[in-house]
Symmetry: C2
Amino acid sequence: MTAPTELHHPPISDVAITDVLFALSDPARLALARQLVDGPMDMAACSATGGPVPKATKSHQLKVLREAGVVRNVPKGRGRLLSLRRDELDAVFPGLLDSVLGTR
Amino acid sequence: MTAPTELHHPPISDVAITDVLFALSDPARLALARQLVDGPMDMAACSATGGPVPKATKSHQLKVLREAGVVRNVPKGRGRLLSLRRDELDAVFPGLLDSVLGTR
DNA sequence: CCAATGGTTCAACTATTGTCGAACCATGAC
DNA sequence: GTCATGGTTCGACAATAGTTGAACCATTGG
């Protein structure tokens, strides 16, 4: 098995719109995604709810977003850098992120 | 209790975007919603998967869509008429239905 | 009225998701 | 190397969601 420092990201062509919708259908996950609209962010810097969330929980929430093709999660220093897969998603599901992440 | 012939539809202001996303995050429910984009449809006429679905299952799937504010379900003759709550949803979540229901 | 059609609801069950402690892994600082 | 920091993974459990038969309800047609 490969070093788990590089996590798996599905090719965007393997991502179904239902996967994306499901990933964003949870308030905590949606909140995480919205923190990335203005650009990449250190994982340590973004918070799911504002309150304290166990790191296992946060890691799991981001895993769902990652496996749904919504976010990218790459090593950076001793932490990780998160980013939206904006361009790719816009190409396949035009307007989706705009409407979902833009609406309050 | 009131006659269950009139089902409950949440005011659109009570509908969270996460409710809508969740309702549409299931392939069968998404397929149902997509059959309504061109206008209202008799419930008996729309099929969830193409294959045979027990009526209890179909009723349940539509209940999720209804309670998420996505579809309206009113009595019509001895059956029911389904429709998207297009205008209301467009007002609150602009572009959402366009991008979700429009994309293949 | 009665029967057929179309649908909802209930209840019981299965299956999927979510949560989080504990153990483990990688990197950077020293 | 060692320690601290930041994160993933595993495993067990809790909670939520999905499926479906059976019972029931409403409407239309005869």
